[in-house]
Symmetry: C2
Subunit: 480 residues, 2 copies
């Protein structure tokens, strides 16, 4: 099989272009060396990861975002009461004297803290970084306790739904760009959900609990969700049935219009606000040419406490064959509007409306890794362009002088760390590593003031003048 | 002042090319929002940081390294007894049930753990990532509790000193490439230091304590170091004086030869091994053309426990004016050989010899940030190429359709999130943000099927056909 680098563009295209296969089990490494739910990323994995991150970051920059970075840990009090039921999953640091600290749980709360702390009223920013959650270590579907998030957010007071529509456009661009297969973005609004619960006569105190039941509708059927609502959460059966009439519905912009006509929902002020925003959102999504990727899904609830308006979640659609193997690949991107979070951090409660999205890159990594394995693609993990070899003994000095020249000219070069390596060992190394060029220096070459330049693929060798070495190599590299 | 992006190459060159100025005080942010010793990195800081990291990573790739990543936290037991006196600075995670974890203190120990765990016998890898140390929060010289390290290491059994010489070459390439001003790399060998202490009759039990005193010679004068040895660490005055005769010496390869002739040191087997390796090292460094950057410095000790052979540390040399302002800019890169560390993690004690280096990028960031402030350089924090504007009301739909086309063609584009923005506001935004091109659509253009393309710098406007928009913009961008 040809080494990856030699068919660079083609191989990547075929990697990204293949049909989706869910990743199944992911090995987490040996327990004795490693903390549960974390993992090292091998050079092979890092190449894929960086390729994906580059694509995501490119998209964020295309939309005018600046990059921000925040510390891995925050003051513990900054993270409390932001994540609802999930707060128990926050990693705390040990009290070693001084402040109480916690590892960040997402990139959204640190962003809101940054805006409040620096009194920033407008900002379009992206952040790429790790976050940590004490999830029970399930090892399916690429769920880890340490994982990478790629966030894009727009903060500021603007005319309604324009930034929200851009966030959905970005999700579409990223998912299309990565060629993960067909996808769908579910959209809902927290105010519509609240409106539904209100008109169905759910007591306010149970809103949270019932919402988290509704959120499970993408994983378990309605009758099980209904059972949970009635048996575990103490809802009257007829209230649950009323909820069921709403949350099992999904569709396009026509469903938004239908809900406007709904006799009960149209009496609820909050729901009407949400529906009005969704109507406007669909208008903009149509102009962006992505309306057909969007589904108004009344069961979408999203776990986090801080959302206040539109919420969304992208899921990959599976072929029937894939669906048989594994029920749910899960969401690969999600986000929403959180207009109150910055105000929580501001001493005077001044807030900055925000909307954003997060790309779930770990799942995307898992999918592409699996594809590579299936396709048996060999990926180059180094970028070395030239190998410095010799057929003779006692040529280390010449090799060192030569490679130093290459490095100084910015050429990526390697040699074997051996005084007297065999020529065959050196050439095998090049083939194994996918290094395209070899420069060979021996007694004959030294005498004649030349160097042999060999192409590993064709095995052709040409003699070139020692002083033209760098120029000739650069010419050769620019041709390929 | 012209926005940064418009004089991209020139501005960066002048930024990197200016004289070194030590960074002085660095603000750490407000205490109420932030844990001590950590900080957010603003978009301006992130642009500089990424530029530097790109240069460092480029160099690592030029030398054939693969990228590795390891988790932010390790099992606590993996980090204990690796860092000597500094072990108290390790951040532990709170025991929330399950394993005892600690945040990584450097990237070297996780690398050794990775090699042992995966039974890897040879690897040239780089890693870029944050590490955490509970330093007392001094805010001078860019010392933080969270900071970024860039590590390059070569693991494997090879012929002596070839990889070690390459590590020093890499340090030179990085420091020259960043144009930080003149620098020097101090080199010593742990075995020479041990030999000196032995022939000076220091009791073995005091080696560690005396070494850490010697290591302070770059910050305080010999008489104070001597005082510490005698008064605090209980060394006989004549023993301290004998040590002083050695450790105050530094020089080039000739000092290596001199030490070979030293009547006492030449009796010590360990010291002779170290001297032999240094002699060979200087031979290779000469071939790499960097011998004059290297100083054999008998006072260099390096704090970490795991070093077993050659050790090195790069310092920036200051002009007299700078030296007056601040005594010591500190080391900006360091490393050494650690042949025993992998064996500590291997159940059977099998080891893999390693040598490597770490670039202290935080100090480099601090220096370059200060330079930018002094030069008053304005840096573009976004890469937006085109702004979509309108002079008329009710043109949001047209703007959204248009910008969507640009995004889909991979063009970096922005608009204002406003239904009816003023044209002047839109043009000011472009000037403020350094966006080079504006496309303008209004009633007239819509009627004629054209778009106005405006250059922000020259204020020239040309009408182009709507259907040629993307092609014309791409042409324009490739010209600039």
């Amino acid at each position: 099989m040809p080494p990856f680098g030699l068919l660079h563009r083609r191989a990547w295209a075929s990697l990204f272009g293949q049909l989706l296969r869910p990743s199944g089990l992911v090995c987490i490494g040996e327990v004795h060396f490693h903390s549960q739910g974390t993992r090292d990323l091998s050079p092979q994995q890092m190449v894929v990861r960086e390729k994906i991150l580059d694509m995501v970051i490119d998209c964020f920059k295309r939309h005018g975002a600046k990059r921000l970075d925040t510390p891995a840990f925050e003051l513990k009090e900054m993270l409390t009461e932001k994540y609802g039921e999930d707060s128990g999953l926050i990693y705390d640091l040990k009290d070693q004297g001084g402040e109480l600290l916690s590892l960040r749980y997402d990139l959204t709360v640190p962003f809101a803290r940054y805006l409040a702390m620096n009194k920033v009223k407008r900002m379009k920013r992206y952040q790429v970084g790790k976050v940590w959650r004490r999830e029970s270590p399930t090892i399916v579907q690429g769920r880890y306790r340490e994982f990478c998030q790629c966030d894009f957010d727009i903060a500021g007071q603007f005319d309604p739904m324009i930034p929200d529509a851009e966030c959905l456009k970005i999700m579409c661009e990223v998912l299309s760009g990565l060629q993960l297969g067909d996808f769908l973005i579910k959209v809902n609004d927290r105010r519509i959900l609240d409106g539904i619960l209100a008109v169905c006569a759910v007591p306010q105190s149970k809103f949270h609990a019932i919402c988290s039941s509704i959120d499970k509708l993408d994983k378990i059927p309605w009758k099980d969700v209904r059972h949970e609502m009635v048996a575990k959460k103490g809802l009257a059966p007829e209230v649950a049935d009323r909820i069921g009439d709403y949350v099992q519905r999904h569709g396009g912009v026509s469903l938004v219009e239908e809900m406007f006509q709904d006799s009960r929902l149209s009496q609820n002020k909050q729901a009407l606000e949400g529906l009005g925003d969704l109507r406007l959102l669909f208008e903009y999504l149509t102009l962006f040419g992505i309306a057909e990727k969007i589904s108004f899904d009344l069961s979408l609830a999203r776990g986090l406490d801080y959302y206040t308006g539109v919420i969304y979640e992208a899921v990959l659609l599976q072929t029937p064959a894939q669906a048989e193997e594994c029920l749910n690949v899960g969401s690969v991107a999600a986000g929403g509007r959180y207009d109150g979070l910055v105000g929580v951090f501001d001493p005077k409660g001044h807030t900055v409306p925000c909307v954003g999205l997060s790309i779930g890159v770990e799942r995307i990594f898992a999918i592409l890794e699996e594809r590579m394995k299936t396709a048996g693609l060999k990926i180059r993990t180094t970028e070395t362009q030239v190998f410095v070899a010799t057929p003779q003994k006692n040529f280390l000095h010449e090799r060192l002088k030569l490679i130093s020249e290459l490095w100084d000219a910015g050429i990526k070069a390697e040699l074997l760390y051996k005084n007297n390596p065999k020529l065959l060992t050196q050439l095998h190394y090049c083939e194994h590593m996918g290094i395209p060029l070899v420069v060979i220096i021996g007694e004959q070459e030294l005498k004649e003031g030349v160097i042999k330049l060999r192409s590993v693929a064709s095995r052709e060798e040409v003699a070139i003048k020692r002083e033209n070495l760098v120029a000739e190599i650069q010419k050769k590299l620019s041709e390929s």
